[in-house]
Amino acid sequence: MIKKLFILLAILLPIKAQALIEVDITRGNLSPLPVAVSPLSIDENSKKGFEKILKKKDIGSEISIVIENNLKQSGLFNPLNKDAFLQKRDIAHLKPRFEDWALIKAQALITGKVTLVDEKLRVEFRLWDVLAAKEMLALAFTTVPNNWRRVGHIITDKIYERLTGEKGYFDTRIIYVAEQGPKTKRIKKLAIMDQDGFNTKYLTLGNELVLTPRFNPTNQMVTYLSYFRNLPRVYLLDIETGIQEVVGDFPGMTFAPRFSPDGKKIIMSFATDGNSDIYTMDLENRIVERITNHPSIDTSPSYSPDGKYICFNSDRSGYQQIYVMKSNGSKVKRISFGKGLYGTPVWSPRGDLIAFTKLHKGKFYIGVMRTDGTGERLLTENYYQEAPSWSPNGRVLIFYRETKTDEKGEGFTAKLWSIDLTGYNERQVSTETDASDPSWSSLLSN
């Protein structure tokens, strides 16, 4: 729907040249690339027009701030202070004086131009290699003015892709649980926001407890656990229409839902008589299939991106461990063998890794291992943190962290955090309220 509003006007083919800058994102990036994001230029008429429509004084500058923040948050880029910029923004966009930009140590330069055309927002931008004195990328977009932040995200995705060789993750959303109130009577609502913490919308009112929301592959549906009428069940919510329905007709609690990679099934746990097993329900024909049948707890299922395998959490060995099986439930194999307990396995969108939560000696870790259990790497340690979710390019994990309370049992907070696969660039993700159970969408455009 929103996708259609974007019309790619012109793609000026990037000029292929040797020795253009490249960012290596496979290693921890200790020296982020210095980049100058020149405020997008804007003519007086357009400026006045947008001020009326968007109540923003200088939309060109605002969009460049979105880009700059994205680049900074990625940890791979170091946006330079604008006070040091020598060249005027409109001229820089036409013909940058590379010596000026090299002088302030910029290696990449981003310039652009914003115009108001028939009540629409037209944005063009260029990415320049300062040292090679060459244009690397030039694109233009036209959309409704209200989409201006998304334009900033899409531009960042294009820049990220051009410089790292991998898809970006900026034009995405996070669905999560917004929390408030005392720890013993927490009020929880479903909330959705842009990846950078803006445009927060609340999808439920907080009348009932809600947990663990997850997007479908097209980001239009969400599956989650709701305690509506004190019956904890997996629900399906259409974000645009707001229509909700219970998934399946189970005589007990269903929980830990996720979509299959084709979006046609929901996989979840069903608990009855003290035993939790994994089931799927086909959303078209409503057929329910039992995947595991074991007297232990089987939960937190997550499909491999090709849909052929499922990783899940089970205590069949006595304690919580991670297992992998074929998607029909056969060939169950334990993959976690390190010290401690393992939970919340989630398969990476690239297919090669499984992220997890580990509890060992009173500390909680977010980590990754290969799908056969080898190569375990712990990325971060804390008092309490769990439930990693992958960015669509498989480079960043978002999770939530809770704090220890003081002697009076006060001071509890829950916040979203993100960390690179490399273990670098750990950051708090800004949210309007306390937050938990984040789930990252796929890219909204392209």
Binding site: T184, L209, A256, S269, G274, T299, Q320, E386, T405, G409
Partner: protein, 159 residues
């Protein structure tokens, strides 16, 4: 009838053995806790005089302790005397576990209590079960005592 009784006794022996082996491994008593099972009365409410409403569990466990079985027998006696009362068993976990696993663990704990009540003659039709996982702690503290109070199954009147 007779067979029923034999089975019931056999079940109790098995449970007792399990509890004894569990106790053998960790027998530290620290005032309000035995091992890491809460034995105090801070949060306990009463369904009737002398009938505590809740039982407590060890970390990651759903095995009923001797004390828990004693509490549940009192509840069963009270329920037999009040045949019109139905109950909800609310299973809970502490905050030191992942959310989804804790939901399953809470369900397992509440069902451990349900099974025991049933062996004492309470019909399954009078009992419903709900798990809150780690979502509804009674004590907001971040220490072993607070966690022990939160690992519980609470019997609540449904009508």
């Amino acid at each position: 009838m007779n067979l029923n009784k034999i089975l019931k006794n056999a079940f109790l022996v098995v449970v007792a053995c399990m509890v004894l082996t569990a106790c053998a491994t960790q027998k530290k008593s620290t005032g309000q806790m035995q091992g890491d099972v809460y034995t105090g009365t801070d949060t306990v409410e009463y369904l009737a005089s002398g009938v505590p409403d809740r039982v407590f569990f060890a970390t990651n466990e759903s095995v009923l302790t001797t004390r828990s079985r004693d509490t549940l027998r009192k509840q069963a006696a009270w329920l037999r005397k009040n045949p019109d009362i139905n109950i909800v068993l609310e299973g809970h976990a502490d905050e030191r576990g992942t959310r989804e696993y804790n939901l399953a663990l809470g369900e397992r704990r509440a069902n451990a209590a349900k099974d025991y009540l049933m062996t004492y003659g309470i019909s399954a039709s009078r009992i419903s079960v709900i798990s809150y996982g780690k979502e509804r702690p009674v004590d907001s503290g971040s220490n072993p005592l607070a966690w022990s109070k939160n690992r519980r199954s609470v019997t609540v009147k449904a009508n």
